[in-house]
Point group: C2
Chain length 480, copies 2
C-alpha cells in the first residue's frame, strides 16, 4: 500500500479495508457492510476473549429477541427520545400489517429489563449479571465508515442488577478494569476512561463512563462504555427486590457495551503501518506463513523441508500456512505483510544446509536466524514479545498525544499537535453545555469528560469558555 | 419432575424447559422466546463444535447483513414465493418511510449470492465455502414450541460454490458426514438422511437433503438440511466463472443449515429422563457438582475437603461447582439432576476417612467409589463413557422405531408403534404429490423422502396410495 497512516489516515484506512479484504461496501443497503473472512476470524477471537473476561467476572450468557415492541421502548422517556430517531421499524409480517410496530433492537435495555422484572425477587437473585453477544441496528444519520460507524454493528451488551448504589458503582470500576485487561493488555489499544459530561450521556442513564482511544489522525473514538443507570430503568420496568428487612426496593443497574466491530477498527488503526495490517499474534487469522525460496534444481528438497516445518508447527497448534503458490517470494512477502501475518519463515537451500530458518517479524521487520528444531519454542517467545512491543509502542504514542491548555486559544493550538487536551472548565453538569458549544464552535473539539477516579481539581483557574471559576478538569478532543 | 417422557412427551418437554430454566416464554412478542443461560451455555458450545467441523472441511466465517432488499428476494421466483409469506418487513427507519421494503433475513441466499457474483471470477476462487453463524426470522403460522419452532431461531448457514455438479454433489455427501460427526457422534442424536420428495424441497432448490431425527413421541423433527441448488441461484444472481478453456460458466451451489436452537431441542429430548436433563459431558454448562454431607460437628473438616477437591478439579479445567448452599443434600441431588449435571460427587466424613469419594453418574445413576487422588483421571474416563452410553442408548431406541409396510392399512398400524415406516411408492417426483396427500389424510403421516445413497429399489411392489408400480421406497413419518 505504501501510505503513511500518520499523514493520511483516511486514505490508509480506506485502502487497508479494501486491499486486505476486511469488508465489502458494495452491499445494496446503505450503511450496511459485509464483513469478510479475514476480519471476521479476528473478531470472533475478540468475542471469545471478551466473553471469557465477562465470565471470569461472574457474567453468564443469554439470548434476547431482536424485536422490541414499541410500547417497551416508550417506557423510559429519555431512552425513547434518544433512540426513536434511529430505529428500523418492522410494520408488516408476511402479508399482514402488525398491530404494534416492532423495533429492531438499537440496544436491549427495554427487552431485557421487561424480563428482569420477572426474574428478580430477592437478594438471592442478585447480583444478576447477564451478557448477550449480538448485533444492533441504528439508522445513523452521520456519515458511515466501515467498522467505525455503520447501521448494523456487532457487540456484546452486559446488563447487571444490584441491590445497592455502591455495588453498582463497583461494577463501573470492574468494567474499567475489564476494559484494561482485554482491550489494552490483550488487544494493545490504549484509552482514557472518562465520566461523560451530563449533556453527553446515554439516553436514560444517570452517568455514562467510556473508554476513548485515539486514531492516528488524533481524533478520538469511543470504545466500550458503561452506563450507570441508577434506578431509572428499574422504576420504569419495575425491577424490584425484597431486602433483609422485608422491604421492597428498586434495584440499581449498570450496562456495559463493547462494540467488537468498532474495537476492530481501533485495533487495525493502532497497530497497522505503511505495509498494511499488523496484528497481535493471538488475534491473527494466520500466525505464520512459510515462504519457500526455490530454484528448479532444489524444488523438491526445499518443499520437503517446508512441509516438514508446516506439519511440526501445526502440530503445536499454531495457525500456519505454507504458501506454495506460483507467485514470486517478493510478491508473497508483500501480500502476507499486507494481511498482517505476524511471522514469516523463509526457507531456501542455504537455510537447510545451515540448519536454520530465516524468521521475519511483521511488527519490527526484524530478521532472526533460528534453528529448525527450536522454531516452536522461539516462536512462542516471539509471540509474547510482539504483543509487548505493540502495547508499548501504542502506549508511547498515546501518551505523547496528551497535553493541557488553559485558554481557548491555547486549546486550539494544542489540538493541532495533540489528541486529548485537559482544560479547566466551569462544570460538567447541564449548565456547562453552553460552554461546550462555544468550544466546539471555536475548535471543532468536544468535551469528552473528566478522568474517572482523578483527584485533580482546578485551584483558582478559570473556565476556558465562560471565564467563571473552574470546578473541574475536562478533556477536549476532536471526535469520530 | 417425575414425568415419563415416553408416555407424555409434550408435558415432559414443557415442564423441563420451564423447570430447568432453559427459556422464558413471557416475552411480549408472539413466537419470540428468551433463551436463558442454562441452554445458551450449551448452545454456544454446540456452535463452537459445529464451526470447528465446518472449518476442518474448508469453510471460513463471514458476516452478512440482517436486512435484505425486497428486490433481491424477488430475483429467484420460487424462492420468493416460498419465503414472502414468512417475512418480517422493515418499512420505516427513524421518522422516514423507506423507498424499498427490507426483509429481515429468513435465510441468506439472496444476500450472500449478490456478493458472490462480485467475488467469483475464475477457478482460483473456487470452491468458495463460507459459513455465517446468525439468527433468522420467520413469521411462522404453525404453532410455535420453544427451540423446536419459533419466529426467531439460531443457526449457522454455510453457502458453497463449485465449478461442477459433481463437486457440488460431493459437498452434499460431505455435509452428511459432518452431520454424522457432530450431531450424531458428539451430540448423540441419531438421524436418517433423506432426499426429500420434489414436492417438499427448499424454495429454489433442485433437491433438498435433510437429517431427520425422532422425538420420544415418535414424531420426526428436521435437523440440518443441505440444499442442492444446482445453477438456479447462480443464474438469478449471475454467479459465474471462467473455466480452463476461457469459457464463462454458471457455478453450482449448495447450502447447509444446522439450526442450533432446534438441535438443542433434539438433544434434551433424546437424552433426558424422568428426573430431568441428561447432557453429554462436553456440552454441560456444569460438569461436576460437589455435594458436602455435613453435620454440625464435622462441617469444617468436610467443607475443607470439598474445597480441596473443587480446586483440584477446576485446575484440571473441569467445570465444577461446590454446592455450599443451606439446602439439604436430597434437595441438591434433585436440583442438579434436573439440570443434567453429568457427575455428582458426594463427600462426607466417612468418605474422607476411607480416602474415597462417592461419584454418581447422571446418565446411568451408577454409584462409584473413587480414590480422591485419582478423581481427575477417572472422571475423564467416565466422561467418555457417558457419551458412548448416550449414543448407544439413543441409537438402540432409534433403530427400534424403523419398520416397513406395504399397504395403507399396514402403514397406519405401523405408525402406532414406530417412527419411520418404509413403504413402496409410485414416485418422488411432482406426480407423487397426490399420493402423498392421500397418505397424509389416511394416516396423518408425511412422506419424508428416500434414503440418501440407498440402493434398495422395489421389485414388483405397488404404491401404497395409487396401486401403480412402485419405483421407489419412501419413508413415512408424523412430523413436527
Amino acid at each position: 500500500m505504501n501510505i503513511d497512516k500518520m499523514k493520511d489516515f483516511s486514505e490508509w484506512y480506506n485502502s487497508i479495508t479494501k486491499e486486505a479484504e476486511l469488508c465489502d461496501l458494495r452491499y445494496h443497503v446503505k450503511g450496511f457492510v459485509v464483513f469478510m473472512p479475514w476480519s471476521v476470524i479476528t473478531m470472533k477471537k475478540m468475542y471469545t476473549m471478551y466473553e471469557q473476561a465477562l465470565e471470569r467476572t461472574g457474567h453468564v450468557p443469554a439470548w434476547f429477541p431482536a424485536l422490541i415492541p414499541e410500547s417497551f421502548l416508550m417506557k423510559e422517556k429519555e431512552h425513547v427520545e434518544g433512540f426513536a430517531p434511529e430505529v428500523f421499524w418492522v410494520t408488516q409480517a408476511g402479508l399482514n400489517p402488525l398491530e404494534e410496530r416492532l423495533a429492531m433492537r438499537p440496544t436491549s435495555e427495554t427487552a431485557m429489563y421487561s424480563m428482569y422484572s420477572l426474574w428478580v425477587h430477592g437478594l438471592k437473585d442478585l447480583p444478576l449479571k447477564i451478557y448477550h453477544p449480538s448485533q444492533v441496528w441504528r439508522y445513523e444519520t452521520k456519515a458511515t465508515k466501515p467498522f467505525i460507524r455503520s447501521r448494523e454493528f456487532y457487540w456484546i451488551e452486559a446488563h447487571d442488577v444490584f441491590p445497592t448504589e455502591e455495588s453498582a458503582m463497583a461494577q463501573v470500576r470492574g468494567d474499567m478494569e475489564m476494559t484494561d485487561e482485554v482491550m489494552h493488555r490483550q488487544f494493545g489499544i490504549p484509552f482514557l476512561f472518562f465520566r461523560r459530561p451530563q449533556w453527553d450521556k446515554f439516553a436514560g442513564a444517570v452517568d455514562t463512563y467510556a473508554a476513548d482511544t485515539l486514531l492516528p489522525d488524533r481524533r478520538t473514538l469511543q470504545l466500550p462504555s458503561t452506563h450507570m443507570l441508577g434506578q431509572n430503568f428499574a422504576k420504569s420496568f419495575n425491577v424490584k427486590f425484597t431486602d433483609e428487612k422485608g422491604e421492597e426496593k428498586f434495584c440499581w443497574q449498570t450496562c456495559y457495551g463493547p462494540a467488537i466491530s468498532r474495537i476492530y477498527a481501533a485495533l487495525i488503526a493502532t497497530h497497522g503501518d505503511e505495509r498494511g495490517l499488523v496484528l497481535p499474534f493471538e488475534l491473527a487469522p494466520l500466525q505464520i506463513v512459510i515462504v519457500p525460496i526455490v530454484k528448479a534444481e532444489n524444488k523438491e528438497k526445499v518443499m520437503g523441508k517446508c512441509k516438514e516445518v508446516e506439519k511440526a508447527l501445526s502440530a503445536s497448534l499454531f495457525r500456519v500456512k505454507l504458501d506454495d503458490s506460483e507467485n514470486t517470494p517478493g510478491f508473497k512477502y508483500n501480500q502476507w505483510e499486507m494481511k498482517g501475518v505476524p511471522i514469516r519463515i523463509e526457507i531456501g537451500e542455504r537455510d537447510i544446509e545451515s540448519g536454520t530458518a530465516m524468521v521475519v517479524r511483521r511488527d519490527t521487520k526484524e530478521k532472526l536466524k533460528i534453528k529448525f528444531d527450536s522454531l516452536g519454542i522461539e516462536i512462542e517467545k516471539i509471540a509474547t514479545s510482539i504483543l509487548a512491543n505493540l502495547v508499548s509502542k501504542a502506549d508511547k504514542w498515546f501518551k505523547e498525544q496528551l497535553t493541557k491548555a488553559d485558554s481557548m486559544d491555547d486549546l486550539g493550538k494544542a489540538l493541532e499537535s495533540h489528541g486529548f487536551v485537559r482544560v479547566p472548565f466551569c462544570t460538567d453538569q447541564k449548565d456547562g453545555e453552553a460552554c461546550a458549544d462555544k468550544v466546539k464552535e471555536a475548535t471543532h473539539a468536544n468535551m469528552r469528560g473528566s478522568l474517572f477516579d482523578s483527584k485533580e481539581v482546578p485551584n483558582n483557574e478559570k473556565c476556558i469558555a465562560c471565564g467563571k471559576k473552574a470546578e473541574i478538569y475536562l478533556y477536549a478532543a476532536r471526535q469520530y
